[in-house]
Amino acid sequence: MNTQYNSQEWAAETTRGRHLFNYNFRLLGREFKVWQLRKAEPMQEDAGGTEYVYLWQGQRDHEREMVRVTVKEQTSWRLAQKRLREQLNNCMRPDIPRGTGEYASLGDISFVSRDPQTGVPGAIFFTRGNVFLSVDSVGEGNIDVSEFAITLDRALSEPPARSARQKRPAGKHTAKMLKLKMGESRVVTKLQKPAPDGPWLKVIAPDGELSRRGDALSFTSLQAGEKAIDIYVTNPGDR
């Protein structure tokens, strides 16, 4: 087992991921143009929810161009990074390098593995907030999967695009104001049981940490004061 993956270092580097929380995030098939979602397969399940694998095929050559996206929501960013470490430890390649250059800002923590012949990034592992993602080229040829990773990272970390939010029944935006003391935790919202056709909830805090306990999403403030918590609810039909 590789011991080079230092999750304490990762935690120290993680800032934005602490303020983000995504819940019931699903890929529906429209996320990547010219790619066809072939299947969404549930894998293992734990307290954080079910891990899903999405298999995308290129429209020209299904066997040659195939990209696999693994999405695992956890109850906190720490557990997402634990899942990342677990993933890396189940790679036979030792010391997969951190994302650098254009990938340095990908996710909270990212690792990029390249095809030994072509040098294209054929596998990218990263976390964003409480979500672990792995994007792998799994077709006959190794292709560059960075567009997938970048698109997914944006979807998880940025507020929904205005056009999407203004549709009816549009993704709904609520700003919840919470006045907290330093170190105080408060429930931001109750969470529905995750479902494939349920809404995707994205919560962005200005600072502090977001995490889930049971069916409650909580915010822990690191500084006293009034905090505006942005809650975006996007239904599958809005995307």
Binding site: M1, R38, K39, Q57, C91, P94, N142
Partner: protein
């Protein structure tokens, strides 16, 4: 079944259906009645050959090979595979005449003034013997024959003519001296013999794959003429009518007649009932319960319901299955006792006499039938035909077919081990595993075959980018791997060692192996290898593995053997340098760093190679649950 051979207007017609390994036959001189024996069930039956009406004459014989009738006295003589020659009749009487041993086969009755002799050849001992029926004295005419089977004695009682399986030949033996002379060779599995009408030729049955009848013309030289091909599978006995216009053949499952001037018309009555359902898996039975993993449901029982479904069953190899059969009444049913049995590709089921009672829906109770023979002692994916037949037992009657179906049976070497203890075995997994390991008689061979077939499947290839685990490291997603190996997308075409160890061990354990998934760790240098899905030698990942995982036996230590479906190592004396000899590690000792076993084939010697490649069963030995 009727087969025509245009040039001679030859026809082959079924007279009796549903024989349980028919062998010897004897036809009365008037050509109306024949006796035949059924080897598997030890029965002697009598048939009126013009009508096909059958009556059981004797049961309880022990693997009868041939029947010879003294038509003048009504005495019936039967040779038994277990070594005896018995007299079965007249009447209920059955008595052992002699027990020469050596597996007596075809019988030949020779009458001389005041004496009757029964000649026979003994398959195992290679003897031709003469039995004096009055004194029961046995005289050995000759020895050293090569598995003799067929026998006829000439009219002058001077020569015996014998088929020898070892030589595929017809041999003539002088009865006075015992001298043997090979007359004709090149026969295909020759079996029983009969004289032609003029006594100058001999009919010789040839078993599978020929399934034919030839006439051997006893001139100089002896020549062969084809009489009929396309006989029912595994013909044995031959009995021509006096004018040779009809030649009766007793085959494994049918008694047939070869005719040249039109066949006899056998009027078969409509079946009195038909097979409605066949159940293989029943309470306290030997069948292994099965599951459809896609629906998550157990295979429905009975597995076979006519026109509704036909699901597979599974057994540990060597088991003797019973099936529970429900019959549906048809208009031809008239009550009474029926003999019901089935022939088929594994010998069918034992015939039994049954008095069926039908409920208001026209269905019978489930009747238990036992397979004729235990299942093979190997891993198999079998298609087993059962052709059911029946006839009334109280009076001579014509056997009729009352149902037929081909059933799929999976055979495994032992009860499946984990993860197939908590999980009911999946049909789709058995389909793949039993197909891959077909023919394996030991768990090592089965696991080796599965490793080889997985590695060579062409459906998956090694992930040279990161060596990621794609089919699960907490649970193994066998559902998706099956999809991939059966031509679907699965979870993509890339795999790593964990995926491969999961696949090999999970499928091997399904067929009764006892393998684990376990790792060697960590961060060790590598020799060149050929990764799954590739055909060139390479060292992945700039020379080392973070870890490696294989299917492993026992405690998963260096003293235990491994099966690695993920890569081929160099099998020659120096794995560290080219040229290399590809070797897929199957049942290979993991080993230490002092002798070339798996460990030194995978890793070079040294502190960063072999020494770092250490089994870690304490932390990693497992059998992942499947999803």
């Amino acid at each position: 079944m009727v087969k025509r051979k245009r040039e001679r207007l030859m026809q082959i017609t079924d007279v009796v259906l549903g024989l349980a390994a028919g062998v010897g036959i004897d036809l009365s001189s008037d050509g109306k009645t024949a006796y035949y024996v059924e080897w598997s069930i030890g029965e002697l039956a009598k048939v009126e050959v013009a009508t096909g009406l059958v009556k059981t004459v004797k049961t309880g014989l022990t693997y009868p090979q041939d029947v010879e009738v003294d038509w003048a006295t009504g005495e019936i003589f039967v040779s038994e595979r277990t070594g005896a020659v018995v007299q079965a009749g007249p009447g209920e009487r059955t008595a052992k005449i002699v027990e020469p041993g050596g597996a007596p086969h075809q019988l030949a009755l020779v009458k001389e003034p005041g004496k009757r002799y029964l000649y026979t050849v003994c398959f195992d001992s290679g003897r031709l013997i003469r039995i004096n029926l009055a004194t029961k004295a046995i005289k050995t005419i000759t020895t050293g024959l090569g598995h003799p089977i067929g026998l006829v004695i000439d009219a002058a009682h001077k020569y015996a003519y014998v088929t020898e399986q070892d030589k595929s030949a017809l041999t003539r033996i002088e009865l006075a001296s015992g001298n043997a002379k090979k007359l004709f060779s090149g026969l295909a599995s020759p079996f029983f013999l009969a004289w032609t009408k003029n006594g100058k030729g001999i009919f010789c049955v040839q078993r599978d794959p020929a399934n034919s009848l030839v006439q051997l013309n006893l001139g100089t030289p002896v020549t062969s003429t084809s009489i009929a091909t396309g006989l029912a599978w595994r013909p044995s006995g031959v009995a021509p009518s006096g004018d040779n216009k009809l030649i009766y053949i007793c085959a494994d499952q049918r008694l047939q007649v070869i005719s040249f001037n039109g066949p006899p018309v056998i009027k078969r009555p409509p079946p009195p009932f038909e097979v409605y359902s066949v159940q293989f898996n029943y309470r306290d039975g030997p069948a292994i319960p099965l599951k459809n993993h896609l629906t998550g449901t157990s295979i429905p029982l009975p597995e076979y319901v006519k026109s509704v479904r036909n699901e597979p069953s599974a057994y540990v190899s060597g088991a003797l299955p019973h099936v529970k059969v429900v019959f549906r009444k048809l208009p031809g049913f008239s009550g009474g006792t029926y003999a019901i049995g089935a022939t088929g590709s594994l010998g069918g089921v034992h015939r039994k006499n049954v008095s069926l009672v039908f409920n208001a829906s026209g269905l019978s109770n489930a009747i238990d039938f036992e397979f004729m023979w235990p299942l093979p002692n190997t891993v198999e994916r079998l298609k087993v035909l059962l052709e059911w037949n029946t006839r009334k037992t109280a009076v001579p009657s014509v056997p009729v077919v009352c149902g037929a179906a081909t059933h799929k049976l999976f055979l495994v070497l032992a009860k499946p081990t984990a993860p197939w203890v908590a999980e009911t075995p999946w049909v789709a997994a058995l389909e793949l595993a039993c197909g891959w390991a077909a023919g394996a008689a030991t768990s090592d061979v089965a696991a080796s075959l599965i490793t080889e077939r997985y590695n060579g499947s062409g459906k998956v290839s090694y992930d040279t980018v990161s060596g990621s685990t794609f089919y699960g490291f907490s649970q193994y997603n066998l559902t998706q791997m099956l999809d991939r190996l059966n031509g679907g997308p699965g979870l993509g075409g890339k795999v790593n060692c964990t995926d491969s160890a999961n696949t090999v061990s999970t499928l091997a354990n399904l067929v009764g192996c006892d393998l684990w998934q376990s790792r060697m760790e960590s961060g060790f240098q590598l020799n060149e290898m050929i990764a799954i899905g590739y055909n060139s030698w390479a060292v992945p990942f700039s020379g080392s593995f973070n870890y490696h995982e294989v299917a492993w036996k026992g405690a998963c230590t260096q003293n235990d053997n491994i099966f690695d479906g993920c890569l081929k190592v160099d099998g020659d004396a120096d794995p560290t340098s080219a040229p290399h000899t590809p070797l897929l590690p199957t049942n290979m000792l993991f080993g230490d760093c002092s002798a070339i076993n798996y460990r030194l084939r995978l890793c070079p010697p040294g502190a960063n190679g072999c020494a770092q490649c250490v089994p870690n069963p304490g932390m990693t030995r497992k059998r992942r649950p499947i999803i």
